[in-house]
């Protein structure tokens, strides 16, 4: 039995990935803005004894290759000649989607039109006559609600049925002239009018009203800041409690482990190394870093799923235009809050090579989920006061927002500088789709991203924090003469680190944190504890530890700034290399934020020293 190849194609943001997941059962993140399907996803499924291989192609608007993304999809159709092409369309936005469907139906014979989001359409009073649509398009049409897997079996039946037809070996894509395009656009409109009945003429009035509010002159920016603050506030509140709880459990467990290992007569050095080297580092990562990450990520995903982020890009576009950058850079920056490596990949939504590089090179100025807890920890320890209270909360959230805004300003400045130097050019034309708002799938998003994040962070903690903890322990316990290797090493870094307001330990932590940013604070803690006498510490005493090791407000501020402005993590660097296919640009992406950080920290530190702070 041969496996039949099925290609999923459609405009961006029509729930293609949801259909893909529904058909294959494979879990994949689906987003709510154009071009979220950044790499090709493959999956398989078997239906009534026939095996199918399914590919999820990047979202495209037409069969004219305008962007690298579109070229990928079109090349695939040309070269692989799939047995069946399934076009996924959004029922709430059918006219526009039909344009692509018509182009594809003209070029291929084994085509199925899958009309998704029927539930949303129904809510908006959009009635679609699927039979007429099928007759006029002259291809099979299946209506589905991919989110709730409604009618997906019918889609499978149809795929099976269509795949039995011989594929046309000579299917070609015509060159697109104005006549052909005009024809397909006009046909799309004609078919749309024949098949779709609107119960309410103003079916999208709620969306328009909401749009007018969130993009208005007076409320546009305040709403953006408020939403950001709200997310930070929930994160801070939740994280504090969970942190303390996790700390209690994990460090309580440490005593039990100690008793257990001793009862096995394990060598003292081994116990020491495992517990105070490896275990404690991992425990710090889990207790301090995990909670904010696990809370912030689902909240941001909810915002993303609602369709609000393209509105942010819409509001912010003026700034990016001034910086000669692409308007969609705002979207790739938002992605950076989750993960800079993912954000680098999402830069593919930017067509122009120049502007894409600009977005890639500056993406690291947005603190990712792994650096975010460091900012939170520093702000709550040094700037917001330790006692919890409404005022402290407001200060903490305000400072966090200020730090993020500072990152955005640096992004714009560096983008502008780039556009005047190594990335000269004018902004290319761009069109930003503002997709319909959708009610996020609260429970699913929260459970999924909580689990995903937790498992991901735990995995990284074990893989990265374990060796880091080991290295520090070994260095701290290997002596040449009177001083440990760790001291020699950090002392060597001290003079340089002092110039930028840090100390050798902090700088070393950033360097050792290259594989994963979330181990920076744990490394700092472990190093101070290894050189000092404290072995037991709860989260509230962290500040004491840092102050005892010479931290001042200046140190905290510079650490905070350097966390925001420094080299991207290892994964991000590798992704940049893959996306730009150039070590030169990878080096630039490494050097630019690092140099920015060094300059900013130097200026801040020297100014504060001079002022005698």
């Amino acid at each position: 039995m041969t496996v039949k190849n099925i290609a999923l194609i459609g405009n961006p943001n029509v729930g293609k990935s949801t259909v893909f997941n529904g058909l294959t059962g494979l879990s994949q993140h689906t987003g709510n803005w154009p071009g979220k399907t950044v790499s090709l996803a493959f999956g398989t499924f078997v239906h009534r004894g026939q095996a199918f291989s399914l590919i999820d192609l990047p979202g495209i608007y037409s069969l004219m290759a305008n962007s690298p993304e579109e070229a990928v999809a079109i090349d695939y159709l040309r070269q692989k000649k799939p047995d069946v092409v399934v076009i996924v369309a959004d029922a709430t936005c059918l006219e526009r989607n039909l344009n692509l469907a018509i182009q594809i139906a003209q070029a291929y014979c084994n085509v199925i039109l899958c009309v998704n989001l029927l539930d949303e359409a129904k809510k908006k009073g959009i009635q679609i006559d699927l039979d007429t649509l099928s007759r006029l398009m002259d291809i099979p049409v299946v209506g589905v609600v991919a989110r709730s897997k409604k009618n997906l079996d019918r889609l499978k039946d149809q795929i099976l049925c269509t795949s039995r037809n011989p594929a046309d070996p000579d299917s070609v894509l015509a060159d697109f002239t104005e006549e052909i395009i005009t024809d397909s656009v006009n046909r799309a409109s004609t078919i749309y009018r024949a098949c779709v009945r609107l119960e309410r003429k103003d079916y999208n009035a709620p969306d328009r009203t909401l749009d007018r509010i969130v993009t208005s002159k007076s409320l546009g920016y305040p709403i953006m800041l408020l939403l950001l603050s709200l997310i930070f506030w929930i994160t801070l509140q939740g994280a504090n409690h969970i942190s303390e709880y996790l700390h209690m459990i994990l460090f309580g467990l440490q005593d039990h482990l100690f008793v257990l290992l001793t009862s096995w007569n394990a060598p003292v050095m081994l116990i020491d190394m495992l517990l105070f080297g490896v275990y404690q580092t991992v425990a710090w990562v889990v207790s301090v870093m995990l909670p904010p990450m696990a809370i912030f990520f689902p909240l941001f995903t909810l915002l993303e799923d609602s369709g609000y982020l393209p509105r942010v890009a819409f509001n912010m576009d003026r700034c990016f235009r001034r910086a000669c950058a692409h308007g969609k850079q705002a979207l790739t920056m938002c992605m950076g809050f989750g993960c800079n490596a993912c954000a680098i990949m999402s830069c593919r939504i930017i067509d122009s090579q120049r502007e894409r590089l600009m977005a890639i090179l500056t993406n690291n100025f947005v603190p990712c989920n792994g650096r975010f807890p460091t900012l939170i920890a520093l702000i709550s320890m040094f700037f917001a006061g330790l006692s919890a209270g409404p005022l402290q909360d407001v200060i903490a959230v305000g400072l966090l927002v200020a730090v993020i805004l500072f990152g955005v300003i640096i992004t714009l400045i560096v983008s502008k500088i780039l556009s005047m130097t190594i990335l000269k050019g004018l902004p290319s034309s761009f069109a930003l789709e503002l997709p319909p708002y959708r009610r996020p799938q609260f429970v699913k998003v929260i459970i999924r991203s909580l689990l995903d994040r937790t498992i991901f962070v735990l995995g990284r903690a074990v893989v990265v924090a374990t060796p880091a903890g080991l290295i520090i322990w070994v260095l701290a316990n290997t002596y040449t003469g009177e001083t440990s290797l760790l001291n020699i090493f950090t002392n060597a870094l001290d003079p340089f680190a002092g110039l930028i307001g840090l100390d050798g330990v902090i700088l070393m932590a950033f360097i050792l944190g290259f594989p994963a940013n979330e181990i920076v604070i744990p490394i700092i803690i472990m190093t101070y504890m290894a050189t000092g006498s404290i072995t037991e510490l709860d989260t509230l005493q962290l500040r004491t530890l840092l102050v005892e090791n010479g931290w001042t407000t200046t140190t905290a501020l510079c650490t905070l700034l350097f966390c925001l402005l420094h080299f991207p993590c290892g994964t991000t660097c590798l992704t940049i290399r893959k996306e730009t296919a150039s070590w030169k640009w990878t080096a630039a992406a490494f050097i630019i934020p690092t140099v920015s950080g060094l300059i900013v920290c130097f200026i801040v530190a020297q100014t504060l020293y001079l002022l005698g702070v």
Binding site: E178, I181, S429
Partner: protein, 80 residues
């Protein structure tokens, strides 16, 4: 009719226009076509961003934001 031709970005919010011509290079034109902006398409100006640029338009059932620098290349006949 000519006196009514105006660049897309000059449509008032809520006003509709029919695309009459696109004054752009071939590759730029293809981007506009991609969006469904061809001769004869009706476009509605929906709302402006806080700075007045870009502006969101209703084109073929979708909401698309265009920078004024680009939108001014699309000439429309206003229908009111």
């Amino acid at each position: 009719m000519n006196d009514k031709l105006l660049p897309l970005d000059r449509l008032r919010v809520g006003q509709k226009g029919v695309v009459m011509d696109i004054a752009a290079t071939d590759s730029e034109k293809r981007r506009f076509w991609d969006l469904g902006l061809i001769r004869g398409t009706t476009v509605e100006s929906l709302h402006k961003s806080p700075s007045g640029d870009p502006i969101a338009y209703f084109i073929m059932g979708a909401v698309i934001a265009l920078r004024n620098y680009d939108a001014e290349k699309v000439l429309v006949a206003s229908s009111m």
